[in-house]
C-alpha cells in the first residue's frame, strides 16, 4: 500500500531532495516547495520508496498530489 503526499500550500516545486525511486525514512525531507518567498520542506510521512508526481519548477495547488511513498 502506498501513502500519498499532498501539497500543504499553493506554490511551486523548488527542489526535489531525493532521487525518484529512492528509499526514504519517515521524516526525511523529500522536496522543498516555494511560495511567497518561503521555502517549505515536505517530509515523507512514512518509510518506503518515494515516487514523485511532480517535477522541479511545477506549479501546484494546495492539496495536489506531490508523491507517493510505498
Amino acid at each position: 500500500m502506498s501513502t500519498p503526499v499532498l501539497s500543504p500550500i499553493t506554490g511551486n516545486i523548488w527542489k526535489l531532495e531525493v532521487e525518484d525511486g529512492a528509499t526514504v525514512a519517515a521524516g526525511d525531507e523529500i522536496l522543498i516547495m516555494e511560495s511567497m518567498k518561503m521555502e517549505i520542506p515536505v517530509e515523507a510521512p512514512v518509510a518506503g520508496v518515494c515516487r514523485f508526481s511532480v517535477t522541479e519548477g511545477a506549479n501546484v495547488q494546495e492539496g495536489d498530489l506531490l508523491a507517493t511513498i510505498g
Binding site: P8, I9, T10, N12, K15, M36, K37, M38, E39
Partner: protein, 450 residues
C-alpha cells in the same frame, strides 16, 4: 537634490519611498512585473516601466532592465528598497557604472558584509563582540571548536540567509552528522558548503540597531529595535525601545554600533543585528539597506529615514533637527502577512475587502487595496501596522484597537494571531525571546487539540 528617482521595488516599500520623494518634490519612477500592472505603487508613481513577467527572476531581479528604465526615464538615482536587488553589490556597481547614483551603502561594503564569515571577522576586527565560534572544517576541527565553546551550538551556512540551513545541535554525538548534512544542503542550495559554528544562545532576544552613516564620516545610532517575535527565523513584530534591554546595555550597544560602523566607513542607512541575553550582546549580521521595520525607529525619533538616505546619496550634509537624535515614547510594528494564522503557511488569494485602521499615532504602510490579488510570486507581507504611544502600555493599547479595526477578507491573514499575541500576558509584560512564538503555538496546541 535629485529631481527624479527610480524605485526598484514593489508593494508597501515602493509606496513608502515614493511618499517621501513626493514630499521633497522629487518625481518617482516605478517598475513593475506583469502581475503588478494595476498595483498601487504603479498608480502612485509619476511614471512606470514594465520590467518583465511575474516571477521575480524575470522582472524585479532583472538588473539590466531596471537600469534601462532609469536611463530612459531620466532618473538620476535608484533606490532599491529591501529584498530584491538591495544587497546585490554587482547591481549597485552596474548602477554606478551607468552614471546613476546608488541610494545605499558602498558596493564593496555590501559584498563584505553579505558573507556571514566575512562580516563576523570584519566586525570582530573593529571591536564589536562576536559569538564564540568559527569555521567548521573537518570532524577534528569541529570537535576542538566545541571543546572550546561548549554545547549547544548553532550550525549555519556561511552563504545562507532567511533562516534556511540553520540547525541547533545539543548533543556531541549529533555534531558531525549534523555538520555533514548541513554542509551538503548548503552546497546544494547556496552553492557553497562552508559552515559557521557558533555558540547557541538559548533564550536570547533579537535586538538590532538602526545606523545612519553621514557624509562627514560620522555614524549615528538611531536606537534599538526588538525583533524577537519570529516564526521560522523571520520577524513578525518589532518594537522600540526593546523591553528587555537595560539603559546601561542600550548605551553600550548603541555606542559599539556607531563606532564599529564608523570604523568600517559605513555611509547610508543600515542595521546591525545582535543577539542579547542578560547583559551580553553579540553580533548576528549587518543588513546594508533600509530595513522592513524602519518605521518604529521613525516613530520614536521623528526622523524620516528615506529623506536622510536621499540627502546622503545626493552628497548633501544631513543632520537630525536640532543636531541631535532624541527618542520619544514607544513604537510597535505588526506585520500583516497573507498566511494561515495557525500554521504560518503562505496563503495567496483575492482581497475582497481591505480597510485600514486610522488614528493618532497609527501608521499603516501597505501595498494592497480591495480587488488586488495577492500572488504566490512575492513576499507575503501585505502591510505594516505601526503604532506610537507615550509608553509601552499606551502603544499596546493602540495596537489592540488598531488590529481589531483592520479588516481584510479573502486570503487568510495572521491578524487573528496578532490579536492573540497582543493579549498574551508574557508579551504584554515584555517577557519574550526568539523562542516565544513556538512556545505560544505549542501551548495553544495542548489547549485546543485539533
Amino acid at each position: 537634490m535629485f529631481t527624479k528617482i527610480l524605485v526598484a521595488n514593489r508593494g508597501e516599500i515602493a509606496r513608502r519611498i515614493m511618499r517621501t520623494a513626493r514630499g521633497m518634490g522629487v518625481a518617482s519612477v516605478a517598475i513593475y512585473s506583469e502581475a503588478d500592472r494595476s498595483a498601487l505603487h504603479v498608480a502612485e508613481a509619476d511614471e512606470a516601466y514594465c520590467v518583465g513577467a511575474a516571477a521575480p527572476q524575470q522582472s524585479y531581479l532583472q538588473g539590466g532592465r531596471v537600469i534601462d528604465a532609469a536611463l530612459q526615464s531620466g532618473a538620476q538615482a535608484i533606490h532599491p528598497g529591501y529584498g530584491f536587488l538591495s544587497e546585490n553589490a554587482d547591481f549597485a556597481r552596474r548602477v554606478m557604472a551607468a552614471g546613476l547614483t546608488w541610494i545605499g551603502p558602498d558596493p564593496q561594503l555590501i559584498d563584505a558584509l553579505g558573507d556571514k564569515v566575512n562580516a563576523r571577522n570584519l566586525m570582530s576586527g573593529v571591536g564589536f563582540p562576536v559569538n564564540p565560534g568559527g569555521l567548521a572544517g573537518d570532524a577534528a576541527a569541529v570537535e576542538a571548536l566545541v571543546d572550546e565553546i561548549g554545547l549547544p551550538v548553532m550550525v549555519k551556512a556561511a552563504a545562507g540567509g532567511g533562516g534556511i540551513g540553520m540547525k541547533v545541535v545539543h548533543r556531541r554525538a549529533d555534531l558531525w552528522p549534523a555538520c555533514e548534512r548541513a554542509s551538503q544542503q548548503a552546497a546544494r542550495l547556496f552553492g557553497d558548503p562552508t559552515l559557521l559554528i557558533e555558540r547557541f544562545m538559548e533564550g536570547a532576544r533579537h535586538v538590532e540597531v538602526q545606523i545612519l552613516g553621514l557624509n562627514s564620516g560620522e555614524v549615528l545610532a538611531l536606537g534599538d529595535r526588538d525583533c524577537s517575535v519570529q516564526r521560522r527565523f523571520q520577524k513578525i513584530v518589532e518594537e522600540s525601545p526593546s523591553p528587555g534591554v537595560s539603559q546601561k546595555l542600550r548605551a553600550h550597544l548603541l555606542e559599539a554600533s556607531a563606532s564599529s560602523a564608523e570604523a568600517l566607513g559605513y555611509r547610508g542607512a543600515g542595521t546591525i543585528e545582535c543577539l542579547v541575553r542578560d547583559d551580553e550582546f553579540v553580533f548576528l549580521e549587518v543588513n546594508a539597506r533600509l530595513q522592513v521595520e524602519h518605521p518604529v525607529t521613525e516613530m520614536v525619533t521623528g526622523l524620516d529615514l528615506v529623506e536622510a538616505q536621499l540627502h546622503i546619496a545626493a552628497n548633501e550634509p544631513w543632520q537630525p533637527p536640532n543636531g541631535r537624535v532624541e527618542a520619544h515614547g514607544h513604537a510597535i510594528e505588526l506585520r500583516i502577512y497573507a498566511e494561515d494564522p495557525r500554521t504560518f503557511l503562505p496563503a495567496p488569494g483575492l482581497l475582497s475587502c481591505w480597510r485600514e485602521p486610522v488614528g493618532e499615532g497609527v501608521r499603516v504602510d501597505s501595498g494592497y487595496q480591495a480587488g488586488d490579488t495577492v500572488t504566490p510570486f512575492y513576499d507575503p507581507l501585505l502591510a505594516k501596522l505601526c503604532v506610537h504611544g507615550a509608553d509601552r502600555p499606551a502603544a499596546l493599547s493602540k495596537a489592540r484597537h488598531a488590529i481589531r479595526a483592520f479588516e481584510v477578507e479573502g486570503p487568510k491573514t495572521n491578524l487573528p494571531f496578532l490579536a492573540e499575541l497582543l493579549n498574551d500576558s508574557a508579551f504584554r509584560n515584555g517577557d519574550y525571546d526568539t523562542g516565544f512564538v513556538s512556545r505560544m503555538q505549542q501551548a495553544k496546541a495542548v489547549k485546543e487539540p485539533s
